[in-house]
Assembly symmetry: C2
Homo-oligomer: 500 residues x 2
Amino acid sequence: MSSSGEYMNGHVHLEESDMDESDGKLFLTEAFNIIMEEILNKGRDLKEKVCEWKDPDQLRSLLDLELRDHGECHEKLLQRVRDVAKYSVKTCHPRFFNQLFAGVDYHALTGRLITETLNTSQYTYEVAPVFVLMEEEVISKLRSLVGWSEGDGIFCPGGSMSNMYAINVARYWAFPQVKTKGLWAAPRMAIFTSQQSHYSVKKGAAFLGIGTENVFIVQVDESGSMIPEDLEAKIVQAKSQDAVPFFVNATAGTTVQGAFDPLKRIADICERNGMWMHVDAAWGGSVLFSKKHRHLVAGIERANSVTWNPHKMLLTGLQCSVILFRDTTNLLMHCHSAKATYLFQQDKFYDTSLDTGDKSIQCGRKVDCLKLWLMWKAIGASGLSQRVDKAFALTRYLVEEMEKRENFQLVCKGPFVNVCFWFIPPSLKGKENSPDYQERLSKVAPVIKERMMKRGTMMVGYQPMDEHVNFFRMVVVSPQLTTKDMDFFLDEMEKLGKDL
Amino acid sequence: MSSSGEYMNGHVHLEESDMDESDGKLFLTEAFNIIMEEILNKGRDLKEKVCEWKDPDQLRSLLDLELRDHGECHEKLLQRVRDVAKYSVKTCHPRFFNQLFAGVDYHALTGRLITETLNTSQYTYEVAPVFVLMEEEVISKLRSLVGWSEGDGIFCPGGSMSNMYAINVARYWAFPQVKTKGLWAAPRMAIFTSQQSHYSVKKGAAFLGIGTENVFIVQVDESGSMIPEDLEAKIVQAKSQDAVPFFVNATAGTTVQGAFDPLKRIADICERNGMWMHVDAAWGGSVLFSKKHRHLVAGIERANSVTWNPHKMLLTGLQCSVILFRDTTNLLMHCHSAKATYLFQQDKFYDTSLDTGDKSIQCGRKVDCLKLWLMWKAIGASGLSQRVDKAFALTRYLVEEMEKRENFQLVCKGPFVNVCFWFIPPSLKGKENSPDYQERLSKVAPVIKERMMKRGTMMVGYQPMDEHVNFFRMVVVSPQLTTKDMDFFLDEMEKLGKDL
């Protein structure tokens, strides 16, 4: 103790907080106002840009990103908040069509802000009492939409991780010794997935030590849907190479075309071969809310596991991804548990089966259930159903309008809300038979995309796929969209490409 | 079109948004006020409880968690926001000592609210221009604190995942064929980690297909620090079993005791044996900010990879975890990339090396850099350094005060901010030699913990460890703490256990 009674330690004062609470709260409140104005008001305003595009070098110098020894003043920091908002893409903008997420739901966003402020981890009932119970309820309701009155499930950091959980749990189901002894104690294994499925299946096979070459790629038909006969052929092929078929990844809503694999036929094949059937419904799972469209995933209840990302079509915001299991034998826990005594003590005074964190391969795990729960409480399953139906209906409108215009050519008519098309500029019209047509067409999308980004009027993605050269993938996600946004999209494409 | 000119589709209106913007924004604003009051004001108030404990069944009925078909009104939803806040643990409360995170930093929290509202994914420059460049800067600064002017790194969803990245990249470095052909194309591999290291190393070995039995457990000394001689012995043992030693996980700041493994000696052993050296500095990495304490991780610059969670000691909030690599050959990208053409097109109009998402095993990836960046801008490296120094000084104060009181017995004096101790209640004083002493002592912590939770005055965790029966682990994390909080902690422990 110093003579003044103050306990000091070098330059550190131990008798007072090193943070000014009221300054901190003032900053947060002022920043919240900036968030409302710069992101939610301007970001939702059709007169504003989706994105204020800058080249990386320009942006680096505009933002003054460098981190230094000394701090900055209140006003300067508020300006930084404004800058981050200004130069970021407004994914909530009505003309953001670039990814499989878009728009904003204010109830879900509220759930996210509460989650961030409470800042807890979803491992035990002790530190996350509300969220352990809430996760249980949300998972149970999603599971019942799949068609399972019982089962298991957990929120994961994104659909890729959910798919990897499925592969790992399936592997444990087929070859439990791998958990302790590694893959050397098991035969070579084979995974099956379609050529249009998400790349996380291959990433997962690599990460889990199975290897990308042990992922057998099944052919799809023109719509992008898995051909069951080819699945059977690939199973025979794998067996002939002494690989044991154990896992089929069927896709409900492929990333680019929005195709649905034929689940019932795949389920038959899995049953006949004693294989685990997984459905990657990260994108398409939300059709389960719709009486009108859930036929697209008929047979999903026969799967062993399902990945579903409400952060896509349901607008919960990133991240909100679940992996659901039909299993009722606690396979997920057996597969992943490490029984760390510092966290999962068994002599607690409450029911420790609620300490569900050991089902995860994470330790600290973000709370991902509240945003979905609060949104669901706000609009009900009926409201979510209506959003799904609206996205389908708007997509149909868009496709009909597109067909009326001669600058657009559909890659194929999909069953979902993905609309894949080529923009055919004036110079290429009627030139389909020229030898350089495909090559010239492949260069159209990148040029239009560059112009679009620099104008900032909208954002939509393009890609090549198999034998198809670069085409656009328009996605109708947000329930905030209207026919006017669809018309704008078509008009703007024509403006951007009219001189090509 | 209907005769009124309105485009309808079933019950769905396509010409209008299905969401009322102004209602949504009003709800968000009102909820923000509740967040400020119920979480940040009450949560930081010493007169309020850390947690309003309810049994699971009670809480289930209080919260009315069930998700239904129909939505609820504005007022009811606001009440739900209040309820979620009320029954959740206030991890920002000055008496929350239960985990390796605590407190709140208002600048970091601001960064998190902006992140949630912007709702983008960290895969390409196109959709996350600000955050791609910001991640680059943050990673580079953290790397330079480790001692590397070059290298690589990425944010992961938590320290467990960061450790798994390290194992996978090390495996790719040692046996690149595993990515394509799986572990069957490589010899049995051996991982080494101490008995006090984090359980994610074993979870990772299981998930990555290596198997928990191929994790060789190295002994620790009394302080919890790895014994290098035993590491060498375990390497010999692994080789004798035809397993190839390729990966050592050294820990900087163990979970329970806060021990630091001897990095220089471990680096020597790794070099001699051609092994990858990883440092799990999830907890202890933040000492790198402190001139006074960074000697604890001397030698860390000789590692190949480092896990570091700023969401722990630096108060950024969950989640903020990086995996850093010394490698300059793009090993991370080669190991993880899948080159999905729909996302990582090579014919874009900007430098696509900025599309760093393919380094991740995730597809959508949350933005985790902004909260750390904004906090760093606000208080500078010097401010962060001061926080670390303060936590150390407060810990020393706590230990000194503890030693003055006869009800406390330290498990051992640690070098960090973890204080492990037994509370010795009156009935056990002087009974150290009774045959049932250990058994009776083991029951003290669970009883005190239950009383503590029900009173809501503070939260601190306990666990058994090796031959030690249940003891408390107090952790001093938050820079908002003072000596008064330490005194309170000791007084409250005595109150809770005085009749035992």
